[in-house]
Symmetry: C2
Subunit: 204 residues, 2 copies
Amino acid sequence: MGTAERRAREKDELRRRILEAATALFLEQGYESVSMRKIADRIEYAPSTIYLYFKDKVELVSSICFETFSELDRRLEAIRNLGLTPIETLRRSLIDYIHFGLEHPSHYMFVFCTPPAVFKDMGQDQRCDVNGMAMTSFNRLRVGIKACMEDGSIRVDDVETAAQSAWLFVHGVTTGLVVDCGFPFVERTMLIESSIDRLIRGLN
Amino acid sequence: MGTAERRAREKDELRRRILEAATALFLEQGYESVSMRKIADRIEYAPSTIYLYFKDKVELVSSICFETFSELDRRLEAIRNLGLTPIETLRRSLIDYIHFGLEHPSHYMFVFCTPPAVFKDMGQDQRCDVNGMAMTSFNRLRVGIKACMEDGSIRVDDVETAAQSAWLFVHGVTTGLVVDCGFPFVERTMLIESSIDRLIRGLN
DNA sequence: CAGCATACTGAACGCCGTTCATTTTGACAA
DNA sequence: TTGTCAAAATGAACGGCGTTCAGTATGCTG
């Protein structure tokens, strides 16, 4: 009588294989190089079968990104649990955010640089998917800055504005370095560290 | 005997019309929504005709962006000629950079967020097109920061690193605000101003 | 074994960028 | 005027794409 369970397992398994094939393509060249037909080839199913598991290409890739951005949140959580001072926690988090982006360029660019029109017919639940995840992570930043303010290590007029500025800054460092547009950047680690130093110095 | 000149003028005219049609499409929805076939429809020529005037779609759009980024450079030049103090010049320039990006979202995103693979078979001259322009503008930033350092309004270890950090920051503000990902930002002008304030405070 | 829901497929639609053999155009010399 | 010839423009085709849907296969249940 476990047939229902087995069928469910088989469905899950194929879903997993679709995600796996899509991820491989996504990692290679980003969103544009993911193609339903190429995925179908790799898993040896017809292209239309994929639509039984995902509404469309955007939802498929979004669901890959959701998983990856969960990892970011776990990493930030881990840093928070290190028991460092608020300011040191903030510093480490911001640097790790940038590293996360650099480690997952396709994911990062898809989530933050894809024109909103692409997402237009995503169901509300699916839209909240990645966006909700990003919001959770941003909230850590908000809380982190608040903690720094409360222990006096920084002084800002408005926590929300400061948090948004801080995100815009690390976002800039990330996107700027992720897209290799041939610009002759100075050594990367040094550039990141000194950017974060300046960012924190600016929070006053 | 001015037939050659007239023919050249006619070629230029069609080239201009292609750029015009392409620009209209580009402004509406960005790079992906520009299509050779739609351009052809609008100018009432066959799609293949466009290829007599532009190597491919990337070169066509790049050439649109080159024009627009020249405007940025002129704007920065104009600010420089205002005769303000170095620090005030820097401030105004950084803010204007962000405004430029927000005024030309498609151009900005195409130039700085398109995966390099897309540009891979662009001729060296054409690659330098926009990239060279961006370099010229970046050089203004470098020079501006140097001027501030020399008059003592800021203090940095290394001008190059500081300039790159500064660019990454304004780049982040620009891309973050250009892509409307539904994030509940605080009032835009205030956010930009206070971000730039922090940026400059961080240059010390 | 029949019925039936579930899973899957193949063909098609309408897009896309790009290429190239072919045709059209129009200025010039005879 | 007519014939020639380069330049300009074209239409059809290639191979790709995301997506839909009528129809087929599969395999469990009664």
